[in-house]
């Protein structure tokens, strides 16, 4: 029963609640958090999905089995999970081996079939563009990227190309399962890793060559994730150990373990694993960036409070005769304090509105300069800024109000 409950989609109320929390987190300075996260995606996929048996063998022996596959039909379902919006990019991969013949030489080579830039329409009507091109942004490509539907071309890793003296535009023949097929080298990529010894082809081409229609070995996923905390670490070990409340909180937060869990719900026989190094590095950087931003916000607030305090105190001292006169005319201390606070709040409001729009302007300049795109403005910022403004102004007014309370009309009205 409990399990049924856990496996069901959490209530809308909880969605709203956690969406609020995630939004508040995202609010952190005009959504820079999310922007940083997106920037960090240049480090590639942070989740890999494999067949459960292949994943088990990989965990036990450090190598996968190649006779268990996932289904290509399932791949697009990744966008249908609860955190589908956070799935930025993904690409199915099908590994294979073939004999390559070129320039009169033959050699055994590893093949990788994938979506390079797949365009699809989801059942929700959403247009989607995904593929390896978005996951290998650091690749240095000589020639061109492989076209998604070009089943007669390939891309070669730089090492493989140089070992066999192959250039862009050359022809190669690949033989597997008794079938031979000619391909044109469309591009040569430099990955800087093991992929430099492989041949990259369209998924359909490898499926045909390996006689594995509709099958994929793994799926690489790049997802926006929330840095792990104790709850996420506990859930990563075993989601069933969570209480229903913890489960809902965890499920509705974009922890990498929660996203992996949801991926497994839609990919048949799939096991999703976080690429820990990438995910944890991202989490660490994000945590530190968030901390830095919070510190900057706190220091700015303290600076503002001090500035406001100085300005108000100076203003009150300058107007001490006028305020002393009001006391002499019968104004109570609280009436004078209210008058000054009202003036300060109205000035603060005008300053806050101006500051908000200036802040947005600077945020966009920073967004364009640093990230090359505009920063989305969270509406929640208005409310948070208003509350912070109120309290910072109130705090800054304390010394001036204390001065006002102690002000005696006799001290300021008898100046000769």
């Amino acid at each position: 029963m409990a399990n049924d409950n856990k496996n069901s989609r959490p209530s809308e109320k909880q969605d709203a609640h956690d969406s609020f929390h995630s939004r508040v987190r995202g609010v952190a300075l005009y959504g820079y958090d999310e922007r940083y996260d997106r920037e960090l995606k240049v480090y590639g996929a942070n989740i890999t999905v494999r067949h459960k048996d292949a994943a088990l063998m990989s965990d036990l022996y450090g190598t996968g089995v190649n006779d268990k596959f996932l289904y290509e039909d399932d791949v697009l379902k990744l966008k249908s999970i609860f955190w589908g919006f956070n799935i930025l990019d993904f690409a199915p991969m099908l590994d294979g081996n073939a004999i390559m013949t070129t320039n009169g030489k033959t050699s055994e080579v590893s093949l990788v079939g994938t979506w390079t830039e797949k365009h699809a329409t989801l059942s929700t009507g959403e247009e989607l563009s995904t593929g390896l091109k978005g996951l290998r942004t650091w690749w240095d490509v000589q020639g061109e990227w492989l076209n998604e539907n070009d089943n007669a071309s390939v891309m070669l890793g730089k090492l493989l190309a140089s070992q066999n003296n192959i250039h862009v535009g050359d022809a190669i023949t690949l033989t597997a399962n008794g079938m031979s097929k000619n391909f044109i080298v469309k591009g040569i990529y430099n990955d800087g890793g093991n992929d430099d010894e492989k041949i990259l082809m369209t998924l359909a081409a490898v499926q045909e060559l390996m006689n594995l229609t509709g099958k994929v070995s793994s799926i690489e996923v790049s997802a926006l994730t929330t840095p792990d905390n104790d709850l996420a670490r506990k859930a990563a070990q075993d989601p069933r150990s969570l209480s229903p409340d913890e489960y809902e909180t965890w499920y509705c937060t974009a922890y990498v373990s929660a996203i992996c869990h949801q991926i497994q719900e839609v990919i048949r026989d799939g096991v999703a694993k976080a690429v820990r190094q990438v995910a944890e590095s991202e989490g660490t950087i994000l945590n530190k960036t968030t901390l830095l931003m919070i510190l900057i916000t706190i220091l700015s607030s303290i600076g503002s409070a001090l500035a406001i305090s100085n300005l108000i105190t100076a203003s009150v001292i300058e107007r001490s005769q006028e305020l002393g006169l009001l006391k002499a005319l019968g104004a109570y201390n609280w009436q004078i304090a209210l008058l000054v606070l009202l003036e300060v709040m109205l000035t603060g409001l005008a300053g806050g509105v101006a500051g908000y729009f200036l802040g947005i302007g600077f945020a966009q300049i920073i967004g364009q300069t640093v990230f090359g795109s505009y920063i989305e403005i969270a509406r929640m910022v208005i409310l948070i800024v208003a509350v912070i403004l109120f309290f910072v102004t109130l705090l800054g007014s304390v010394p001036a109000i204390r001065y006002l309370m102690a002000l005696k009309p006799t001290e300021v009205l008898h100046g000769k």
């Binding site: 006028e322 006169l325 005319l329 005696k408």
Partner: protein
């Protein structure tokens, strides 16, 4: 005549200094009293205490039947608002408010601003045609008259002036004294601190302070009318 103000053995002590020493004084309603004395004699201290802006260290001050020496700051504010009209040497008008608005400020903290009433008060001091002017657009004498109108607007029991003619030339001094005369005729109690012997002499009664002590209390009733004629327009 009923006593509007009574000081009984009033002293004000700052450390070793006695700013006021054992003062006894009675003022009847409708009296015009001048307080005179050299600098440091305790005139301002006395007026601060009478005006509910300070309290005595020793003794009692009975204002319109209330012992204000026992009241807290809030009560003193209320009593000052209801019973005292203050006039200052330096006028203390709010620079960004017009003459009539300056008068209405006193109404605001007393009850409710009423522009018509404020205009009447200004008319009483001969400034109806200057009501919309800012203080900077008024002469010293006119500013002091706005100050008097502001002091009168809430119909106080006592009009308290601290060197009200101190910053005025002779002509304006005469105009202000003339206004005091008319107010006195209407039954307003006037207490004025002054350095100016001529202004001191026009009052019904004059007390002299020296080193915080009341050294003389002079009844000027006999010369009251004559002095006024000489000083004011009346």
């Amino acid at each position: 005549m009923s006593k509007i103000l009574e000081l009984k053995n009033v002293s004000k002590i700052y450390g070793n200094l006695k700013a006021l020493a054992d003062i006894n004084l009675s003022v009847n309603a409708g009296d015009w009293l001048s307080i005179m004395g050299p600098s440091g004699s305790g005139k301002t201290t006395m007026i601060n205490i009478i005006g509910c802006m300070d309290t005595p260290s020793v003794g009692n001050v009975i204002l319109d039947g209330i012992d204000i020496s026992k009241e807290n700051a809030g009560s003193l504010t209320r009593i000052r608002r209801d019973k005292i009209g203050l006039i200052f040497q330096q006028f203390h008008l709010i620079s960004y408010l017009t003459a009539v608005e300056n008068v209405m400020v006193a109404q605001y903290y007393h009850s409710m601003p009423d522009e018509e009433e404020a205009m009447e008060a200004l008319a009483k001091v001969g400034l109806a045609d200057r009501a919309r002017h800012l203080p900077a657009q008024l002469s010293g004498g006119e500013q002091q008259r706005v100050c008097i109108a502001r002091a009168l607007i809430n119909s106080p029991e006592i009009l308290l002036g601290d060197e009200p003619t101190g910053n005025l030339d002779e002509e304006n001094e005469g105009i202000v004294v003339d206004i005091f005369r008319r107010l006195h005729d209407e039954g307003v109690t006037i207490i004025i601190v002054t350095h100016d012997p001529e202004v001191g002499d026009v009052a019904q009664r004059k007390i002299i302070l020296e080193h915080g002590r009341l050294i003389d209390d002079i009844d000027q009733s006999a010369t009251f009318g004559e002095a006024l004629k000489l000083k004011g327009k009346g």
